[in-house]
Symmetry: C2
Subunit: 147 residues, 2 copies
């Protein structure tokens, strides 16, 4: 009997869950983009407009990396010309407790940070799971609530 | 009346708690070193020996940054020659729920990662708070439990 080896690319440094997570998300921007997705942003231009001022080339690279890691999905929402938006996958939505823990830490330890809406602090990942099998309505992106 | 402005250095990009936290901790190594501290490592050589293989110059830079952010404290534990070790501050110990959330995410979403000891997953930050006012015993670093 042979044990199937773990895919090399998933474990760049070790099999420690902290190191593995940081292999994908350990930078200054990925979790900022994921925050935006939780607040309903979906379009490249919307991420660009966030107050942190991410640069286009960095945003492009991060979205590609998050897509490869299956944390976000790139979805075409319009044809001719084709236009794409980004959505949290289930794996991406499961990052909510990580963001909530970070918010809790900063709120208790860094004076002066913003406090997010209470409903976001109490939300569960399931609320952000993609509705599987459903195609987005043509104007779905315009209808979504501003969080 | 004037409101006291928040110190500039704390808010490089925005006052969002996620962005502020990543300004200090948003890289591939900081939380790996903090993980090691939770497991009882305190010395530069111990961090170097971890399986991820951090380079000396990166470790030096990260420890300085974590010290500036008051997440770790550098403590002299020996004189002639002077030797220093690193300890979690209360602010650093408060990162435990962030690590636990990351471990939970990776355990559920990345097949093949290690599972940390259950007692670490259930631990509370208070367990790792520094005992204030006490100087470390001369050989305290040798006595500490291997986690």
């Amino acid at each position: 009997m042979s044990r199937k080896p773990a895919p090399k690319s998933t474990f760049d440094r070790s099999r420690c869950p902290v190191a593995v997570t940081l292999d994908t998300l350990g930078d200054k921007w990925s979790l900022v983009v994921i925050r935006d997705l939780f607040f309903g942003k979906r379009k490249f231009s919307e991420f660009l407009a966030s107050p942190e001022g991410i640069k286009r080339n960095i945003l492009t690279e991060r979205l590609r990396r998050l897509e490869r890691a299956a944390v976000v999905a790139r979805v075409r929402y319009q044809r001719r010309p084709d236009r794409y938006e980004y959505r949290l996958t289930r794996k991406g939505a499961d990052l909510l407790p990580v963001l909530q823990a970070i918010v809790g830490w900063a709120g208790a330890n860094v004076p002066g940070v913003w406090t997010p809406p209470a409903e976001m602090l109490a939300a569960r990942p399931e609320r952000f799971y993609p509705s599987e099998g459903k195609k987005p309505a043509r104007n779905a992106s315009r209808k979504r609530a501003k969080a």
